[in-house]
């Protein structure tokens, strides 16, 4: 029988049934050229395998940690689970090496774990549904903060921080609300006030939909649950995962108004 390359390949790969295999072997016995081609294919296979070994990552694998730390989106709201989730996130974060890979898909619950800038929040005072305009009413300093905040929300990628006039603004994460708006969690340190906030973009621009303030200072004293109103608002806005860096970049360049794919 003729032994073309497809036949030899199928023979090498064990894709032939008994009868076909016997035919190939009979053919090989009578065909030195085919035997040579077969030998060279096997040799090439061996070299290919040697050149592309399976590499098991030594030590911590950030991607494996990302997978292990992933939680499926909860179906219903839950009130007791966040503590456990935060503990898991903290354990994951602790075991992770310096970020060789970005981890945008970390659960939104763990957002505070990634924000070393603002550690102090003595008392959480919920101020839900405050708009940027309300911040404006606080005097000229608030007005400045508004401009600064809007610009930061427009332009900064998550993890990015801007300092203007001694005030810090830092973006924590972005996600798409179920109603289609893009929303961002931010932190500010303005004068002696710490602010944790959540703003969503609509046709009017950025609206702060949740804000918590507290006195700055006392690093590390931010109590668990201090950002409860922000967590609650994030839950109300849906369970979409944190936007990835490339998505953010696209939104930044498009002004946050484009509906996500």
């Amino acid at each position: 029988m003729e032994l073309n390359d497809e036949m030899l390949c199928a023979y090498i790969d064990g894709e032939l049934d008994d009868r076909q295999r016997q035919q190939v072997e009979d053919g090989l016995a009578a065909d030195a050229g085919a035997r040579l081609r077969l030998a060279r294919m096997r040799e090439a296979d061996a070299q290919l395998r040697a050149a592309f070994p399976l590499v098991t990552t030594a030590g911590d694998d950030p991607l494996a940690a990302l997978i292990a730390g992933h939680r499926a989106a909860p179906v219903a709201t839950q009130t007791t689970e966040p503590a456990a989730a935060a503990a898991t996130a903290a354990a994951t974060a602790a075991s992770m090496p310096p970020p060789a890979v970005r981890t945008p898909t970390a659960t939104r619950r763990s957002w505070r774990r990634r924000t070393p800038l603002l550690t102090a929040l003595a008392a959480g005072i919920g101020a839900i549904s405050v708009s940027v305009a309300l911040l404006l009413s606080g005097g000229d300093r608030s007005g400045q903060a508004d401009a600064v905040l809007s610009a930061a929300l427009d332009q900064l990628p998550s993890g990015g921080e801007r300092v203007e006039g001694g005030d810090h603004t830092r973006l924590v994460l972005s996600f798409k609300a179920d109603d289609g708006r893009w929303c961002r969690v931010f932190e500010q340190k303005v004068a002696n006030e710490q602010r944790d906030g959540l703003a969503c973009h609509d046709s009017q621009g950025w609206q702060v939909v949740a804000l918590e303030t507290g006195a700055a200072g006392e690093p590390g004293m931010k109590p668990a649950g201090a950002s409860a109103s922000i967590d609650a608002m994030m839950d109300r806005l849906g369970n979409a995962p944190v936007a990835e860096a490339d998505t953010e970049q696209r939104l930044i360049s498009q002004g946050w108004s484009e509906p996500a794919r």
């Binding site: 003729e2 032994l3 073309n4 390359d5 497809e6 030899l8 390949c9 199928a10 790969d13 894709e15 065909d31 050229g33 085919a34 040579l36 081609r37 030998a39 060279r40 294919m41 040799e43 090439a44 296979d45 070299q47 290919l48 395998r49 040697a50 050149a51 592309f52 070994p53 399976l54 590499v55 098991t56 990552t57 694998d61 991607l63 494996a64 990302l66 997978i67 292990a68 992933h70 499926a72 890979v101 970005r102 945008p104 898909t105 995962p241 990835e244």
Partner: protein, 169 residues
């Protein structure tokens, strides 16, 4: 961890190797695997437990590479050396390393569709049917791509024997 997560972690080395042969760049392979894992986690509910996770993941990587990543990236960046070759002694260029380098450049010279089939069948041991499912092509296409890829690899790597053509039909 869920069964899905456990399997995905176990699959990472194979995904990385697949991405490496697909993209021909260690850097792009990392990006591709990362993007693939993120997509998989978002769409974990679409995976049917019990079905082959590797095929599912390969398809995700293939589609990502075809549809999104490749369009924005430079092409034909040479495969970064050193990332795969780990000599015991940096001074010595031994025969083994030369062979590895030769094998990698032989793979790099293949058209992408042939490279992918070669990876799935020879490196990962997928059956022709599984490879056809991953690539969403007929099994005959897998066979013809594979045989062409192997013939070219054999030509370059098969040793110092005179080239024998397959014209015995």
């Amino acid at each position: 961890m869920t069964e899905f997560q456990t399997q995905l972690v176990a699959l990472l080395p194979r995904l990385r190797r697949f991405a490496l042969t697909l993209t021909q760049s260690a850097h792009e392979a990392d990006d591709l695997v990362q993007a693939g894992v993120e997509r998989a986690l978002r769409h974990a509910d679409r995976w049917e437990p019990g079905s082959a996770l590797d095929s599912w993941m390969y398809r995700i990587l293939q589609n990502l590479w075809r549809d999104e990543l490749r369009a924005h990236r430079r092409r034909n960046e040479p495969l970064e050396e050193d990332t795969e070759v780990m000599g015991e002694d940096g001074r010595e260029v031994n025969l083994q390393q030369l062979q590895w380098a030769e094998a990698r450049s032989a793979v790099a010279a293949l058209p992408e569709d042939q490279r992918v089939v070669l990876t799935l069948v020879v490196l990962d041991g997928l059956s022709y049917q599984q490879a056809a499912d991953v690539l969403e092509v007929p099994i005959g296409t897998v066979m013809s791509r594979l045989s062409r890829a192997r013939a070219r690899m054999a030509e370059r790597l098969g040793g110092g024997v005179a080239t024998v053509r397959q014209l015995k039909r």
